[in-house]
């Protein structure tokens, strides 16, 4: 089970320890397993694909989860995550630190999710492939309640939904969310206040609180 962690966390501990199948052989490949974040970025910028793969694995859960919570579709979330990392590859030379990479990924993933939802709304298409997440123990979590809450979050307007996902998935502060979404801080707070009120009201009407 993936556990929540504070802002700036990475997913390195949860990574599968296996080689990158399609990466070209690199003199840095063996060393890439234990290099620091800064060195990893430097190697990736120098064209080391193994280092870039490591960088992806370090942040893939964050990007994928933002997309999944926003789009409620695993295939769509996978596609969006791939696009975000392709864009990261294009912009590697402009990024200066791992913290910069994290904030850049959050910003790009958020904007792409909002764009995708607007495209879907425009086409009047709705995801039909929403699947329950595997790997959670019913003994420790109210799985059905969590899924119901995810579905209710997914019904929020796209910007409000993005604010809620960044706040509760990524545990970002309102100022950080405002910066990531290019949104006034008061708008972020307003989205949070209204969204939580709406979710609470909806849960109360279903006898959950």
């Amino acid at each position: 089970m993936v556990t929540a962690a504070p802002f700036g966390r990475t997913d390195t501990a949860a990574l599968p320890a296996r080689p990158v199948a399609v990466a070209a052989p690199s003199p840095h490949c063996a060393a890439a397993q234990d290099v620091s974040s800064k060195d990893l970025l430097t190697l990736a910028k120098a064209g080391d694909q193994a280092a870039f793969a490591m960088l992806i694995r370090r942040h893939q859960n964050m990007v994928f989860s933002v997309a999944l919570h926003m789009l409620r579709s695993r295939p769509a979330a996978e596609d969006l995550a791939q696009e975000v990392f392709l864009e990261l590859y294009r912009h590697l030379s402009r990024l200066e630190s791992d913290a910069h990479v994290v904030s850049w990924l959050r910003r790009v993933a958020s904007h792409r999710c909002i764009d995708e939802i607007r495209r879907r709304n425009h086409r009047q298409e709705f995801a039909t492939d929403t699947l329950p997440e595997p790997g959670h123990s019913p003994q420790t979590r109210d799985v059905f309640g969590a899924e119901r809450l995810q579905a209710m979050v997914a019904e929020l307007p796209e910007k409000a939904r993005m604010v809620v996902v960044l706040r509760y998935q990524e545990e970002m502060e309102p100022t950080e969310i405002a910066s990531a979404l290019s949104m006034p801080i008061n708008t972020v707070k307003s989205h949070l206040r209204r969204s939580i009120a709406a979710l609470r009201e909806s849960l109360m009407s279903r006898g959950r609180l």
Partner: protein, 110 residues
């Protein structure tokens, strides 16, 4: 459990597909991620805005020129009309004067 904690539990991170990095690298090796510096200037947001501003400036300049020309043409037509009226009045006046000058000569000749 409070609402904040319920949301944290519901929205905690999920595991990405284990082959996500491999698929991204395969697409990179397939040439789907040309570096930003190799892309044409048209793909940059700044250049798009500059191009749009240039088109707007040209359109505004053209509209102003057209409006000025229309104003000048209308002014020319108005002056021409006034000149014609003035000439007509002068012509009528001269005809009346001519008529009055010729009357005494006719009456003294009788």
């Amino acid at each position: 459990m409070n609402m904040d904690q319920e949301l944290r539990d519901a929205l905690q991170r999920k595991q990405a597909p284990p082959d996500l990095a491999d698929r991204v690298l395969a697409r990179i090796n397939n040439g789907e991620a040309a570096p930003a510096s190799n892309r044409g200037p048209g793909s940059s947001g700044v250049f798009r805005w500059l191009a749009a501003a240039a088109v707007l400036a040209i359109a505004a300049g053209g509209a102003e020129t057209y409006y000025t020309q229309q104003q000048q043409a209308a002014e020319t037509a108005r002056v021409k009309q006034e000149l014609q009226v003035a000439l007509q009045i002068t012509n009528d006046t001269l005809a009346r004067v001519q008529s009055k000058l010729s009357q005494p000569a006719e009456s003294s000749g009788r």
